[in-house]
Symmetry: C2
């Protein structure tokens, strides 16, 4: 049985025994995985990660505590919380200090034929949502998280900076929610995907508007992007920080304070709203799939995913 | 008639004619002014300022459109808004894009014997509040602004970083509002002032607590302080950015995003709640007065105010 292994920047494929199923966990057989920018960052050495990566997946349940799961096609929330601390009691297991995270922190990931996850983390993929589309549940959930943190009145103009994978999903999710989304990017073909969901694509060829939006989302993953996002936010406006920038970022604090801007860090979200959007066919993901490889060719898949301009690369179990 | 002049870092005193009173303005005679860190920053060349500084003041009204003001002892809001734009219509003249700011942006300041301000900006100083204490209205209002932006439940532990002038006032205002305030600083004598208002002083001699507070206020004015403040904030917590740092500040974005922290820039506030606190004798300001000089010795006053460890320096009209 095949398992992808990441160590010191090298992606390799190993033979691995079927994992033991811990109590309360389901044993899952991978159907399809998606390579995320976080996986590429793990490859670059962030978090000192070594092991099996992968947290975007669709799988089939092959064994479980509760028989109702057997044979179901599922996605799964990636944070494994302790279930006992104050955070867990508040329903915020995503912030549990004892958590492990599938394929990111102290829990082997989904890029292997068989892996395990607590049954409480699983959600069935609705009939009518293809496996290829359901792989996008996790990043769509991350986009939906914005709506749990910030109430954006319908019809409000929102700027989304960046036209990478996450930017495209965020722009679509906010547009479907009723915002008037302007997405700023440098790739006509990528902006064209969001435009199908009613987003207004804005090709960036120079200066960006200043103090122009009450809501701005930074999904650029760059220091320059974050600085532009601050400058684009109107006084008393809200800037949602959605993509981390590796290392230190230099910003000016004066405009944040003088204009009384609110910056909100935003990470993972609940899967249910994301699956609902997919079921309703509201989010255009098909056009985001730029390639697919079998698990055995994971090294090539990672190389392709890391190539400039590439959107989603999928990994099939066979 | 004497006027303080600031240009290219030099403080001088000039003779100046009594200013003409524009329509809707009151002509004010300075009783007492306070030197603020912003004044020292103007001296260091920020904003390319040249002219009369001063925005913390108590004055007597000597001429006005409306006779009710004549002879009154007043303080005054420092932002001069246009009164016609959307911001002004929303009662947010402090963010009016056409605003000038007393002694900071395109409006001569209060460090002169006579100056003018719109009558709408004035508030009478209540009987029972001394002129020396009323000079603190503006910075106390800035501290009170936090309470307009963030609802802090009574009894909640709040960390205030910094024991400079603004930090001492913020710590006291939040404590009086019912929070359990821990103020982190490096000066026992300064922390002792806040402690009189029920603040818990925490002398910093090494590592600060990490992920320990749901509410953190940065009033250090330093890049290191802002970084510490981010580290001290619990997941889902709120960090109020109250002091600007000159130039660029390097921060890590990952903890902000992973822990979903909210950062809120906070600037000036309304004067009314500040005057109420002074009237009720809740804020200890007397101990913050470290010296006083007549206007004619403004250069020496600025020198003293800029000396390490100095809190408030007052300027008397005579």
């Amino acid at each position: 049985m095949i398992s992808v292994h990441l160590e010191a920047g090298e992606v390799s494929v190993r033979q691995q025994a079927k994992p033991r199923r811990p109590k309360g966990h389901a044993l899952l057989r991978l159907l399809c995985g998606g390579i995320c920018n976080t996986d590429l960052e793990l490859q670059r050495g962030y978090y000192g990660f070594s092991g099996t990566p992968g947290h975007e997946f669709v799988a089939e349940v092959v064994a479980a505590e509760s028989p109702k799961w057997i044979g179901k096609r599922v996605v799964g929330e990636i944070n494994l919380a302790c279930g006992h601390c104050d955070w867990c009691a508040r329903g915020l297991g995503r912030h549990c200090p004892n958590r492990t995270v599938l394929g990111i922190v102290k829990h082997p990931g989904a890029f292997r034929e068989f892996f395990t996850l607590p049954e409480g983390n699983l959600l069935e993929v609705p009939t009518g949502v293809t496996t290829d589309h359901a792989v996008f549940t996790e990043p769509i959930a991350a986009a939906c998280q914005i709506l749990e943190q910030v109430r954006i009145p319908k019809g409000t103009a929102v700027a989304v900076l960046g036209d990478g994978k996450l930017g495209i999903l965020i722009a679509q999710v906010l547009a479907v929610d009723g915002a008037k989304v302007h997405q700023f990017g440098r790739h006509k073909n990528k902006l064209a995907i969001s435009e199908k969901a009613g987003v207004i694509g804005e090709m960036v060829n120079g200066a960006l508007p200043v103090g122009a939006y009450d809501y701005v989302v930074d999904a650029t993953g760059s220091a320059e992007g974050l600085r532009s996002a601050i400058a684009m936010t109107r006084p008393r406006g809200t800037l949602i920080m959605k993509s981390t920038v590796a290392g230190l970022v230099s910003i000016e604090t004066a405009p944040v304070i003088v204009n009384e801007i609110t910056l909100i860090g935003s990470r993972c979200g609940r899967f249910k709203p994301a699956l609902d959007l997919l079921r309703r066919g509201k989010i255009h993901v098909e056009e985001m799939i730029h390639g697919r490889f079998p698990l055995a060719q994971a090294a090539e898949a990672f190389r392709q995913a890391g190539t400039r301009g590439t959107l989603k690369i999928l990994l099939d179990s066979q």
